[in-house]
């Protein structure tokens, strides 16, 4: 898989090391690689293009400032950036106090007024690969047992505590925790094969 292959992870780590040495070229390259999936995530969580852009700006500024603190033992660069993005999006959701926000299921209807960033327009092959990959991962998520998929989506895209998720699903806390963990590990396992 393009996003997490070992070779790609090593390239990402090299870029992060260069960014730590204040290399704007490496930063630009990392932006080109990650901005698509990170922006998509922020947009899905926030449901608003302007908010998603602000969140992504915060994330990349954070990557620039904290590149030297990145720990490859803890996660890949991609997962690190994803969790940073999710965290910034949740901060914004909490600030808005949209406690009743629903997950925006379809981003297709939301039009983005501006043109696509030329720097993120990749070759047709890259784009096709990424689409294939997204479709593949979506199918993996959909293949999970319904209760696990639902728990993961609520946990990942929502900004609820595990107590709130348990209340929302009407399930005991222990059951919900186990569903999140089992679902995540199963997803990881399937993604690797």
């Amino acid at each position: 898989m393009a996003e997490t292959s070992t070779a790609q992870q090593m390239r990402d780590q090299e870029m992060i090391a260069q960014i730590g040495r204040r290399d704007q070229g490496a930063f630009s390259a990392l932006y080109n690689r990650l901005s698509g999936p990170l922006y998509s995530l922020a947009f899905k969580m926030l449901g608003d293009a302007s908010d998603a852009q602000d969140a992504l700006q915060e994330v990349f500024v954070q990557i620039w400032s904290r590149a030297s603190t990145y720990d490859p033992e803890k996660s890949s660069v991609f997962s690190w950036a994803v969790l940073l993005t999710r965290s910034r999006a949740i901060d914004r959701l909490r600030a808005r106090d949209r406690r009743l926000r629903v997950v925006v299921e379809s981003t297709a209807e939301n039009k983005v007024a501006e043109a696509t960033d030329a720097s993120t327009v990749e070759s047709a092959a890259d784009t096709a690969n990424k689409k294939d990959e997204a479709a593949h991962v979506r199918s993996l998520l959909n293949n999970l047992p319904e209760d696990q998929r639902q728990a993961i989506e609520l946990a990942f895209f929502g900004h609820h505590t595990h107590h709130e998720i348990a209340a929302q699903l009407g399930q005991p806390l222990g059951t919900v925790k186990a569903r999140i963990r089992r679902g995540l590990l199963k997803l990881r396992e399937q993604f690797r094969t």
Binding site: S75, S106, A115, D117
Partner: protein, 238 residues
Amino acid sequence: MISEEQQDQAALYVLGLLEPREAAAFESELNANAELRDIARELREAAGTVALTVPPQPPPASLKRRIMREIAIKTEEPTPIPQERVRFGWIPWAIAAALAVFCGLLALDRVRLERELADIRGSDPLMQTTFYTLAPSAPAPADAKATVAWQPGRQSGVIRISNLPAAQPGKDYQLWAVDAEHKDPISAGIIRVDQNGVAQVRFKPVEKAEHVKAFAISLEREGGVPKKEGPILLVGTT
């Protein structure tokens, strides 16, 4: 050997779902346990994978320029002033002073305009009204919709609902105001739709709601509940 309970905690930890106290306790455990750290890493990678399920949405062209500009500003080092410029060192100060005066004039003008706008708002009821469009959320029908006209000054509003089937026996629809100053949504009353799935009612929240961010309709027990329990059917912001 890592117990299932530890793995559960690890999953919640990487998603930031633990309470601060729980997270601190888990971090201590993590520092002392290499196997647990491996599990946490696996779970982080799995969480990263979830992000790939989101439909692709390209960022706008301006965003990279904006970010690169901010990075460049953060990187800029103070440059030494060349000697030949020292003679004219007063020029930037003169420009700054002129700008300060100009900004002061702009600020005064803004205050005047804000006063005028407040007067207009005070005299026109429509200007005091904020409109919210509520969109359906499963299990509501896809064509269900509602519009709220809310007047914060009067603490009252009107909601119009369409295409929402009548609540099943023993249930009622309840309207909620989501206010930034309140932890929980504020009840704004029970709403009953007619046989055509339409309702138009005036409402007043049970508590003062001065910073309403959204309105939502949930399906609750008949007669309503003081705190939201049931699923949200419609929700929307301005």
